[in-house]
């Protein structure tokens, strides 16, 4: 009975989210048409903020393992969950006006978002491969579907299809990796597997190395790094911007959660294998992301390549194999999510004359003359992504490099920093276009409704957290 109460308490956030997603669905059926959309937003926000409150309440119980060890609620799960609820809440605010403008079904959007967050939350709490897999799928499938919600646009559909096919493949590969690991350890609970690996090292070393490769590839898809990065620019470009925002934030939270759970908690015994593996991935992704971004004319594509690079900096933190590195990766993720939200929200603010979204960098020429505040926010975001002080991106990169310098190798630091020089080039080029180029035809700014205020807060947050990162740093450290 006591266990059940604890179970209730720590799983309340998920229960609330699930319940509210059903309520939102019902709202679509029973509420009068004019109230549906706003009530859906209210439901979604209630669910997310209620879940945050409940998560904090539940965390008072400390680390709890439930249901014969299939679910765990610990600090990692808790922080990433709260981060994902906050992110989803931001996405919902930004989405509201956008959905109407793009003629996307509003209600379904909120329902699917809540279910996706539910999946993410389960994934983060997973203590068993089955929970992990089911959570992962529950998180991903709404994303596939929501990208296709602008169903008359062939580029959206193409993006959805590519995301879906590659995603399904990656899931297959991940599952095969899990199956290989299962073959070596005959068990699927995380603590059991972690205990069984050192034993199985004698007979099944090669098998577990392979399992590691397959699992890493599966996670690499979610992170969007080499060799599973090819889908990312296409999806970022083709998807409705609100969905790009979601793929760029929620999916990355899931990826880091999986990375830390699987590599760090489950396979610490295979550290000697996964560290060089991550190094190769980081080296390649840093290069591919940063260099390819240089030639992009489409802002969303540029941000896609930049995200490949950004996520490989995050991976550098995990690569170190130290607590400092993991904490740095957590902080990097939080700042990346914050900055990315602002970046895509800014893109959502502007339309070309023909009503299309302004996604070409050239569209933004001379933005500063017509919409100075938005141009400044863009500059803040770009500078932060480029890792310049006093923006939060600087602190994040500093954390990563500090952790990396402790463990080395030194040439990797040099390499990563050299590529930040390249990165600075394309980020600054965007700012240059906005501030210094002649404007051709002024962009039309559209209101994001409630998102307008949030956007300002968001951009200021990028500055404020850069100036005062201590709280977040402490909270996110593992």
């Amino acid at each position: 009975m006591g266990t059940f109460l604890i179970a209730n308490k720590v799983l309340l956030p998920e229960m609330l989210v699930f319940l509210m997603s059903l309520l939102t669905l019902m709202a679509g059926v029973f509420l009068p048409t004019r109230m549906r959309e706003s009530s859906a937003l209210v439901f979604a926000q209630t669910a997310l903020w209620g879940a945050i409150a409940l998560a904090f309440w539940g965390m008072l119980a400390g680390t709890v393992t439930l249901f014969s060890g299939t679910v765990v609620v610990d600090h990692l799960a808790f922080t990433l969950k709260v981060l994902s609820y906050v992110t989803a809440s931001g996405v919902c605010f930004y989405a509201h006006a956008y959905l109407k403008a793009m003629k996307m079904p509003v209600l379904e959007f909120y329902v699917l978002t809540l279910l996706s967050v539910l999946g993410l939350s389960a994934l983060l709490s997973a203590n068993h491969f089955i929970t992990l897999f089911v959570g992962l799928e529950l998180m991903s499938m709404p994303l596939y579907a929501m990208i296709a919600l602008r169903r008359h646009r062939s580029d959206c559909l193409e993006a959805a299809l590519k995301y879906f096919v590659i995603g399904a493949m990656a899931t297959g590969i991940l599952l095969y990796g899990i199956a290989l690991l299962y073959g070596a350890t005959h068990t699927l609970g995380f603590p059991d597997v972690a205990n069984a690996i050192p034993v199985a090292m004698h007979g099944h070393h090669l098998l577990m190395s392979f399992a590691l490769v397959f699992i890493t590839i599966g996670i690499a898809f979610k992170l969007g790094i080499v060799p599973c990065h090819m889908w990312l620019p296409d999806v970022y470009e083709g998807a409705p911007t609100i969905m790009t925002m979601m793929v760029a934030t929620l999916a990355k939270i899931a990826a880091l959660g999986m990375l830390l759970r699987l590599l760090v908690s489950v396979m610490p015994a295979l550290f000697a294998e996964w560290q060089p593996l991550l190094m190769v991935l980081v080296v390649l992704s840093l290069f591919v992301g940063n260099v390819t971004a240089v030639k992009q004319a489409n802002l969303k594509r540029l941000l896609a390549y930049s995200s490949i690079a950004q996520l490989s900096y995050l991976l550098l933190g995990v690569f170190t194999g130290t607590t400092a590195g993991y904490s740095a990766a957590m902080f990097y993720l939080a700042t990346y999510v914050l900055t990315t939200l602002a970046a895509f929200a800014l893109i959502m603010c502007f339309r070309r004359e023909d009503g299309e979204e302004a996604v070409d960098i050239a569209d933004y020429a001379g933005l500063f003359q017509h919409h100075p505040w938005h141009a400044v926010m863009f500059a803040i975001v770009m500078f932060s992504l480029a890792g310049m002080p006093p923006f939060v991106g600087f602190i994040a990169k500093l954390q990563i490099f500090q952790a990396l310098l402790q463990t080395g190798p030194f040439w990797l630091v040099i390499y990563a920093l050299l590529l930040t020089v390249v990165a600075a080039y394309y980020y600054i080029a965007v700012v240059k276009v906005m501030f210094f180029d002649e404007s051709q035809t002024p962009l039309r700014k559209v209101s994001l409704g409630l998102g307008n205020g949030l956007l300002t807060l968001n951009a200021l947050g990028v500055v404020m957290l850069g100036v005062q990162p201590s709280g977040l740093l402490t909270w996110l450290s593992l």
Partner: protein
């Protein structure tokens, strides 16, 4: 000497791989679907040999009964004509074949008899009272109740998504709108048109 089990295994696993090849290489999507169904059938047999009765049958029901029907339905519905010129294999097919061959070989090294020989794993042995379905059912609703609930969520997602995506909206439905019928009045349903009277001089 080859016993029945071995024979069955090799027959069906051979058939499985062949039909898998058929899925990949057949010219028409419909035959691909058929080959895939054959794949599932072979797998069912193999799983039954493993005493995994529940899953074997579930595979049959869920996949062959539902999913593959769906695939077949979509293939028929779209009825895409495949351009004959595109039926060729890709230029880099040999390269891919080498990659695949290499992967199989390496997996063999990790999974083959060296790692999982009978000596190491023992033979497949179950007590007389072993009941596969019971064994699954015992943990499904206890230990794995959370994933089960989440799977319910996944099915809900699939339903909502499929409807939201493919449902073309109400304009194509013919429905009875009762309030509208009741609100009907002479004023907005009947139009009186004044016309010139018919010519009467025809008689």
């Amino acid at each position: 000497m080859i016993d029945v089990q071995t024979l069955t295994f090799f027959a069906f696993s051979g058939l499985l791989l062949l039909s898998a090849g058929g899925v990949v290489f057949s010219r028409h999507a419909v035959s691909s679907v058929m080959f895939l169904i054959l794949c599932f059938l072979c797998s069912t047999v193999l799983w039954l040999m493993l005493h995994a009765e529940f899953l074997g049958l579930a595979l049959l029901f869920v996949y062959v009964g539902a999913v593959m029907t769906l695939f077949l339905f979509v293939v028929m519905m779209l009825n895409v004509k495949i351009d004959a010129t595109k039926a060729r294999l890709l230029k880099y097919f040999p390269f891919v074949l080498v990659l695949g061959g290499g992967l199989v070989t390496m997996l063999w090294l990790a999974l083959g008899p060296d790692a999982f020989s009978i000596k190491k794993t023992g033979v497949l042995a179950f007590s007389e009272h072993y009941n596969n379905t019971r064994a699954i059912g015992e943990v499904m609703y206890t230990q794995f109740v959370i994933p089960l609930e989440l799977t319910a969520g996944i099915l809900l997602v699939a339903m909502v998504a499929a409807i939201a995506l493919t449902f073309r909206g109400s304009q194509q439905r013919r429905v009875q709108d009762t309030p509208k019928q009741l609100m009907a009045s002479k004023a907005n349903n009947l139009r009186i048109v004044s016309m010139a009277s018919e010519h009467e001089g025809g008689e």
